[in-house]
């Protein structure tokens, strides 16, 4: 079985995000970029399926600017076999919207015929949480989102989902789209031999036009602003004072 894993190049999760002065988005100039952490979990899950003999090839695909090639190399260094880069923008500030991404991924899936697509549940930049669901709909495949456990058996996958208030286990028929949640696994470090091998692994370069997908935006960003600054706390001298303060705040 072939597993397809879409990966997105996003602002590194350690970087303190800065809003651009004109409020049109966040500043990405000279900022450290990395693989979306949920996508890293998806790549790890695919590698584990391969190690368990359930998958035989892992293809990673990234859609965005040319620099996303670095993200693909990282996935190859972790253990993916092959990569496809779909260039869809020139400017790092251009975000390709979920529907366009899903359409391109659907076209890639039709070419590649994977038995399974594992994606991150969302990207940490825009937190859209939409691409996986849209992709499953476009392909007419089953979907299991927010996976915290995946067991593949023949042509079905049993997926434990993290839902509000607990866990839900679903069984989906493959081919399917699974989206990875935080607790699915802990991604590995790239080993030194794999880092050295990554460059020799094939990386196909395509453009959005190759798949006939229009990536022009449908959404308009009205405003981007910093989250409100958290107010400093206060120290209380006694339990009585604590209780009265809590009552004042309406917490009791």
């Amino acid at each position: 079985m072939k597993v397809l894993v879409p990966v997105k190049r996003v602002i590194d999760y350690n970087v303190k995000v800065r809003v651009k002065a004109d409020g049109t988005g966040v500043d990405l100039a000279n900022v450290k970029m990395s693989m979306n952490p949920f996508d890293e979990i998806a790549v790890e899950e695919a590698i584990r399926l391969k190690e368990a003999g359930k998958a035989d090839e892992i293809v990673v695909v990234s859609i965005g600017v040319k620099q996303a090639q670095e993200t693909l190399r990282t996935a190859l260094a972790m253990g993916a076999d092959r990569a496809i880069l779909v260039t869809a923008a020139d400017d790092v500030h251009t975000d390709i919207e979920p529907l366009a991404v899903a359409k391109i991924l659907a076209a890639v899936a039709k070419e590649e015929n994977p038995g399974l697509i594992i994606a991150g549940k969302q990207a940490i930049d825009n937190d859209m949480n939409a691409t996986g669901q849209m992709l499953a709909a476009l392909l007419g495949w089953s979907q299991a989102t927010f996976a915290s456990e995946v067991a593949v058996d023949g042509d079905t996958a049993t997926v434990t989902r993290e839902v509000d208030g607990g866990l839900q286990t679903v069984k989906v028929k493959m081919p399917a789209v699974i989206t990875a949640d935080l607790r699915l696994n802990e991604p590995r470090y790239a080993s030194l031999p794999n880092i050295m091998k990554a460059k020799k692994k094939p990386l196909d370069e395509k453009t959005a036009a190759d798949y006939g997908v229009d990536v022009s935006p449908r959404l308009t960003v009205v405003k981007t602003s910093e989250p409100p600054v958290r107010q400093a706390g206060i120290k209380v001298g006694s339990v009585d004072e604590l209780v009265s303060k809590l009552k004042e705040a309406g917490a009791l």
């Binding site: 990282t74 260094a77 790239a190 080993s191 030194l192 031999p193 880092i195 050295m196 460059k199």
Partner: protein, 386 residues
């Protein structure tokens, strides 16, 4: 000219940095408090590094290493410099000098060291022979076909976990026009060899947990098979293989300075006094500007030294400059960071006081700043006959 890293180098940096942040940082406070690394923890780190293929990455592929270039390896050292040296010791970079192993020595020392089965320690310094290496008193005398060693070595790092030691010993004296000159030979000494003892050393202000030991030789008998390189050829192997260790000190200093700087930067941006962030005061912000300028300068000086080695170019003076400047830079950066933190910088709730203490040794070991200045100035003046 191209100042960027390749994709591989970028991944090496990211991997080592993530490893240090996730596998080293969480244990640092404990190591500082107790002054030692529990052996199980050290072995656990070592095994993870072996699994990642980074163990002995400074060795060529033909002996089982990763065959990293000087530049790639310097990047590894730089990222390791962020973490506690007591812990990153288990990241395993055996002494390159083991490449001088011949015949059975390869099976007995070189290959097990590269595989992580045996750990090594290097012993050169003596109480009366620091910068003046040739002044060493530890000596070996011929007895039958063997060598008998007497004397001691101190400040021996890594001795705690070492299975064998690479020891430099005087094996004779030559009369030269400049006076008597000792001949030096390098020996491989197994832990447990009769007449050889490893004892706890001193308590150091720098790098707690990365302990130093004292080696004693009391009629320690060794056969010729334990000689590394040629008899009386100690300086030759030293110069061939230990030439670049100064670069690892420089790289350590750059990595450590960047970690320290991140604390200075974020603290200056958050800390408020007189109703505003202290970063708004030029007395603070200009210090920050000087710090990053010096760190970048040391970084490029260090990487260019490594690059010169990879190109097969002369690099002795450049490496000395990198070691000198990076270690002096780290002293200034850690001191300024502590000053920016004020009194809290001295408390062990923050790692700043530790960075400040650790920095002190970097100007001393692997050739003091004065020795580096000597190397640099001799390189410049020798051709002028001065």
């Amino acid at each position: 000219m191209h100042f960027g890293l390749s994709e591989e180098q970028d991944m090496i940096v990211n991997t080592v940095r993530a490893f240090v942040e996730n596998e080293i940082y969480p244990h640092e406070a404990m190591v500082e408090r107790t002054g030692q690394v529990p052996l199980e923890l050290g072995l656990e780190i070592k095994q993870k590094v072996i699994d990642l293929g980074f163990y002995a990455c400074n060795f060529p592929e033909e002996v089982g290493g990763a065959g990293l270039s000087h530049l790639d390896f310097t990047l590894v050292e730089r990222e390791l410099g962020r973490g506690s040296m007591a812990l990153t010791h288990f990241f395993g970079r055996p002494q390159n000098i083991l490449m001088a192993c011949e015949g059975e020595q390869k099976e007995k020392y070189l290959l097990p060291a590269v595989r992580g089965e045996k750990m090594d320690a290097l012993a050169m310094t003596e109480p009366d022979a620091g910068s003046d290496v040739r002044g060493m008193k530890c000596q070996a005398q011929r007895d039958g076909g063997d060598w008998v060693i007497n004397g001691s070595k101190h400040f021996i790092s890594g001795a705690e976990h070492a299975d064998f030691f690479i020891v430099f010993v005087a094996t004779g004296v030559d009369d030269t026009p400049k006076g008597p000159k000792k001949r030096i030979t390098c020996f491989l000494v197994d832990r447990g060899t009769p007449g050889f003892e490893v004892r706890e050393g001193y308590t150091s202000v720098s790098h707690r947990g990365y302990k130093n030991y004292i080696l004693y030789f009391d009629n320690c008998r060794l056969p010729d098979a334990q000689v590394l390189g040629e008899v009386d050829g100690g300086f030759a192997v030293m110069n061939e293989w230990l030439y670049a260790t100064r670069l690892t000190v420089a790289a350590f200093c750059v990595g450590r300075a960047r970690r320290c700087f991140d604390h200075a930067l974020s603290y200056a941006a958050e800390r408020k006094q007189f109703g505003q962030q202290i970063a708004k005061f030029q007395g603070i912000s200009f210090q920050i500007a000087d710090m990053i300028t010096e760190i970048d300068a040391a970084d490029w000086l260090t990487l260019s030294g490594a690059w010169r080695l990879d190109q097969g170019m002369e690099a002795n003076r450049e490496i000395a400059s990198a070691k000198l400047y990076a270690s002096e830079m780290l002293a200034r950066v850690t001191d300024a960071t502590l000053q920016i933190h004020g009194g809290m910088g001295l408390m062990d709730d923050f790692p700043i006081e530790r960075f400040w203490r650790d920095a002190r040794v970097e100007r001393i070991w692997d050739g003091t700043s004065e020795i580096q200045r000597h190397i640099i100035s001799r390189d410049l003046f020798r051709p002028l006959g001065a």
